[in-house]
């Protein structure tokens, strides 16, 4: 998307500081801010989502945001219900979700339920394509989702915000909070953000079925609290605390007191970070609580997972343009899960890694090494190398060639190792080899037209793919081998004239992902077949026209049919989904009001969830977001 992004996250944040800063504290040049893992992934594609898009989705979940703006695919169980990802033809546990640099995949199932992550929960989001085990660690097989919270030291003062969205089906979302930046004495600055949010999805559909397909009666309530505090001094030292508490409560068939089902997930994420000029030390505590009950909600099946982690990283400039980052991470897992027989299960994991990056005039090269360990066994050694070269660097535009190759792995999840009878403590980690190459072009001058385009092709082979083997009563085994390969294209164009601006962003992905290994007589029906829930073709298009503060956006996504059986004899039909959004804002002195009207599924298309029940038809949402700004440097 943005070809130059890999050229330096650091550069971008510095320029932001330089431009917006009223009284920026001078920083030493070698300070590495942020959790810029992707800096060491030269040759790989990273797609940041812009702040306008994030604002448009601020009342929605990460599922909606990514489905409409990236080629990521979701196995969606319905509004407010479980949504798991498939990235480049891999399974739900092959995408690492990083919150401020730390993997927050729930360790029991080794995946993230994207319906439980509201867009309100972070400030920045990038999608990193392809294996990145050497930089990210376990789970980064298909790709990674990088969620970040960012302090804003460029302003001082207080900004308070509150918003509400009212939608069809008696669904509503609210959020409120404050951002603040100030001084602590002569040496220190403090920046922070506090956000609370609450979403109530009542899903009171006026129709029980659509074209003979039922809608599932469900209710979901989501609440959360975010607290970020950053302290930094004139010497460039920074201490920060990030906390994110979430509570998601989903009830299926709520009116049926016997058959109703409740799934409640609570996440506690707390992290402290100390950054000096060359060194970062981080410690975190992550707790995931999962309660499931049917009928009688008073005695749920209970799962509790605690993870304590610490990471130390040191970065150094070895030569001009050549930097090295070395790090070590250790995690301790402690779980009490009913499904593990009630026993306390503990596991330790550790990683050692060394990342290098060379930035030349036209060249960007990185070479990385990582070794992961876990109680009982060792992860595969995962090196990677990648590079980018600017083929054309003209005043008006530039063209960059990219390529990378690397190994990846996924540690077995705790369920896979410890689930009573079905789990297998001796399960091997999965391991893969990913290679990709691409071309990225973009215009570089501030002309009326701004264009970007990127084309990538990849091939990712994963061995020892774990499989809950139905022919062995769902015991887990390293049975399969999956080969995923594909082509991705995306591009954007904007045209500006006076107060008018128009533009579009489009993406297309061809994904062929197949199971390759014959392990029993019936596997012959499955070999070479497309993986379930991975459509061969996906596309998305977002087009807008804007005049002054008012913007009209059309978002469309297309998925071709998705097979639902391993032998490809059954499929969910293809569908196209289109939403229309109208945004505008007003400013009265210190008060800013942002308003958004939204029509989802404009064409009232029938499409089905994973259980083959219907998803909702055309629906509406209206939202208002108010900001009161006492910042000295207050501008949108």
């Amino acid at each position: 998307m943005v070809a130059g992004l890999c050229l330096g996250w650091v550069g971008i944040s510095y320029s932001a500081l330089a431009q917006g800063g009223q009284e920026p504290v001078s920083l030493s040049v070698v300070t590495v801010r942020g959790y810029a893992a992707e800096r060491f992934l030269a040759g790989q594609k990273v797609q940041p989502l812009d702040s306008t898009t994030l604002a448009q989705f601020r009342y929605q979940s990460l599922t909606d945001l990514l489905a409409l703006n990236t080629p990521l695919l979701f196995k969606n169980y319905g509004p407010g219900q479980l949504a798991t990802v498939s990235f480049r033809g891999t399974s739900a546990s092959h995408t690492a979700v990083l919150w401020n640099g730390v993997n927050i995949n729930q360790p029991m199932a080794g995946l993230t339920d994207f319906s439980t992550i509201p867009v309100a929960g972070f400030d920045q989001l990038s999608v990193q394509y392809g294996s990145a085990a050497s930089v990210v660690g376990s789970d980064a097989v298909g790709g990674s989702i990088l969620l970040k919270t960012m302090p804003d030291f460029t302003k001082s003062g207080l900004s308070v915000f509150a918003g509400h969205q009212q939608g069809s089906f008696r669904n509503h979302q609210s959020q409120g909070g404050a951002r603040y930046t100030g001084r602590l004495g002569s040496q220190w600055q403090v920046a922070g953000k506090t956000v609370v949010y609450g979403n109530q999805l009542n899903n009171r559909y006026p129709y029980p079925e659509r074209k003979y397909y039922y809608l599932e009666p469900t209710e979901a309530r989501q609440r959360g609290l975010l607290q970020d505090l950053y302290f930094r001094n004139r010497q460039g030292r920074q201490v920060s605390v990030n906390a994110w508490l979430t509570d998601n409560d989903l009830v299926q068939a709520p009116a049926d007191t016997i058959g109703r089902e409740r799934t409640r997930t609570q996440n506690y994420r707390l992290m402290g970070t100390y950054e000096a000029s060359h060194t970062t030390v981080r410690a975190g505590w992550f707790r995931d609580v999962l309660d499931y009950a049917k009928g009688d909600f008073s005695r749920p099946s209970h799962s509790l997972m605690d993870r304590l982690m610490t990471r130390v990283e040191h970065e150094r400039l070895l030569l001009p343009g050549l930097s090295l980052r070395a790090g070590a991470e250790a995690s301790h897992y402690r779980t009490q899960v009913d499904g593990y027989g009630g026993q306390v299960v503990q596991e330790n994991r550790a990683d050692l890694y060394a990342l290098t990056r060379y930035q030349g005039r036209r060249w960007l090269v990185s070479a990385n090494l990582r070794q992961g360990f876990a109680t009982g066994y060792r992860a595969p050694f995962t090196p990677s190398i990648g590079g980018e070269y600017q083929l054309i660097r003209q005043a008006a535009w530039q063209l960059t060639a990219k390529g990378s190759v690397g190994r990846s792995y996924r540690m077995p999840t705790l369920n896979e190792r410890y689930w009573l009878n079905l789990g297998n403590p001796a399960l091997k980690p999965e391991q893969g080899v990913n290679a990709e190459a691409g071309l990225a072009a973009r215009t570089t001058t501030a002309k009326a037209w701004q264009l970007t385009a990127e084309l990538t092709t990849y091939r990712n082979r994963v061995k020892d793919w774990t499989y809950w083997n139905p022919t062995r009563n769902y015991r887990v085994e390293n049975l399969q081998e999956v080969l995923a390969r594909g082509v991705e294209w995306n591009g954007s164009a904007t045209y500006t004239q006076g107060r008018w601006q128009t533009g579009m962003r489009a993406g297309y992905a061809y994904t062929r992902s197949t199971q390759e290994r014959v392990y029993d007589v019936y596997a012959q029906d499955v070999v070479g077949k497309q993986l379930v829930y991975v459509p061969l073709h996906t596309g998305n298009l977002s087009a807008f026209v804007k005049r002054g503060p008012t913007r009209l956006t059309i978002q469309t996504l297309l998925n071709t049919k998705q097979y639902i059986t391993f032998d490809n004899i059954q499929a969910l039909p293809a569908y196209t989904l289109t939403n229309v959004l109208l945004n505008t804002h007003w400013q009265w002195g210190a008060v800013m009001a942002q308003m958004q009207g939204q029509i989802n599924n404009v064409f009232d298309v029938l499409y089905l969830n994973v259980r083959r029940n219907a998803m909702p038809g055309r629906n509406y949402a209206l939202s208002l977001f108010l900001t009161v700004n006492t910042n000295k440097n207050a501008k949108l």
Partner: protein, 361 residues
């Protein structure tokens, strides 16, 4: 030019006229075999495939082919009543189960029975002209809390004149299997705690008697001597339907951990076939097919007639051939294997997801 336009119009008129003359409705599913594919429960992808007796290739998902919409759950049962087919459909979400009523020879949808009339439908039988019984567990609760089977389940009485449920007869917990004998339905149960069966008078639609029989009593056939056969735990039970007394309890082999899991009777109603199944140390389902005569005093399990496990076994009442269903997993097509009554393999037909039974037309 004018001419060609005229011709076109004339052709169109002819086409329209031909639409109005009523061609005889093709009846592709008049006779043959329906394979009931249960599907994967959480995916609600049950289907019915059609197989001509002489064919080795099944036609997939015929309900969808005819009605351009799929069934909305697992297929848990099927029968035909006076030209109409009743498909029992079990959705994984509570409150979304239904019975689809179709024209039995075209499979065109006629009506849909829904909640609260239908909840966890298990088996359907014809009990009189235009009248069917559908056994329903009712809403199921939490398995681990022991509240999975509601007490009691019920029988939905379906009138196929109006295509409506006219009555819900309170039955027994987890009531499932039904066999009609005269004017009485013998109703069995999947629950192993009560050991009960019930007798329903189909002229009154009322339970007239409850009988203590044994674990998981599964009535399945009436033999040539008008005796009712019930498989229960590891026993085969022979019941006198007049006196409601048990005449014989015959152990199906000497190992009580191996139980009959699928049962059928020969066209002459003199030979009973069953799959005797168990789990091996690796959690694989194992088993073999055995047979015995209705007058045998004991069942020998020394020599199976087919040395293979099937999830279900049905006997074709026309030919006497055995149809065994094999389910490799709930994520790929299963197979129906056909055998002669002697146990000689005829062929194997690829079905859809989790074939769980066969209906002979």
């Amino acid at each position: 030019m004018q001419n060609s336009k005229f011709l076109l119009l004339a052709g169109l008129a002819g086409l329209l006229a031909s639409c109005q003359t009523k061609d005889p409705e093709p009846t592709p599913y008049e006779s043959g075999i329906l394979i009931l594919n249960e599907g994967n429960f959480s995916q609600n992808n049950g289907t019915i495939s059609y197989l001509a007796r002489t064919s080795t290739a099944a036609k997939y998902d015929i309900f969808n082919q005819v009605n351009t919409r799929s069934l909305k759950g697992g297929v848990s049962g099927y029968t035909e009543v006076d030209g109409k087919g009743l498909i029992l459909v079990d959705n994984s979400t509570a409150g979304l189960d239904q019975v689809e009523i179709v024209d039995a020879s075209t499979f065109k949808s006629i009506a849909t029975l829904k909640t609260p009339d239908i909840e966890n439908p298990r088996q359907v039988i014809r009990v009189a002209a235009n009248k069917a019984y559908v056994s329903c567990w009712d809403v199921s609760g939490d398995f681990s809390a022991g509240t999975f089977y509601k007490e009691p389940g019920y029988i939905a009485v379906v009138d196929l004149g109006s295509n409506k449920v006219t009555k819900k007869i309170p039955g027994i917990r987890a009531n499932e299997w039904m066999v009609l004998v005269g004017n009485e339905v013998f109703l069995g149960s999947r629950y192993n705690g009560d050991k009960l069966m019930a007798v329903i008078d189909v002229t009154k639609d009322e339970v007239t008697q409850k009988l203590t029989v044994g674990t998981n009593p599964r009535p399945f056939a009436v033999d040539a001597n008008s005796r009712l056969w019930i498989s229960s735990g590891s026993e085969m039970i022979r019941m006198n339907t007049q006196t409601k007394t048990i005449e014989a309890r015959i152990p199906a082999g000497s190992d009580a951990t191996k139980t009959p899991s699928a049962v059928g009777i020969s066209p002459d109603k003199r030979t009973i076939y069953f799959v005797r199944s168990y789990y091996d140390a690796n959690y694989n389902s194992k088993g073999e097919v055995y047979s015995f005569g209705i007058s045998d005093a004991a069942i020998s399990t020394t020599k199976p007639i087919v040395n293979r496990y099937f999830s279900n076994l049905n006997v074709d009442p026309q030919t006497g051939n055995l149809y065994g269903t094999a389910v490799p997993s709930f994520g790929q097509a299963g197979y129906v294997l056909r055998y002669q009554a002697t146990g000689a393999l005829i062929d194997s037909v690829k079905a859809e997801i989790s074939p769980a039974g066969v209906y002979f037309k």
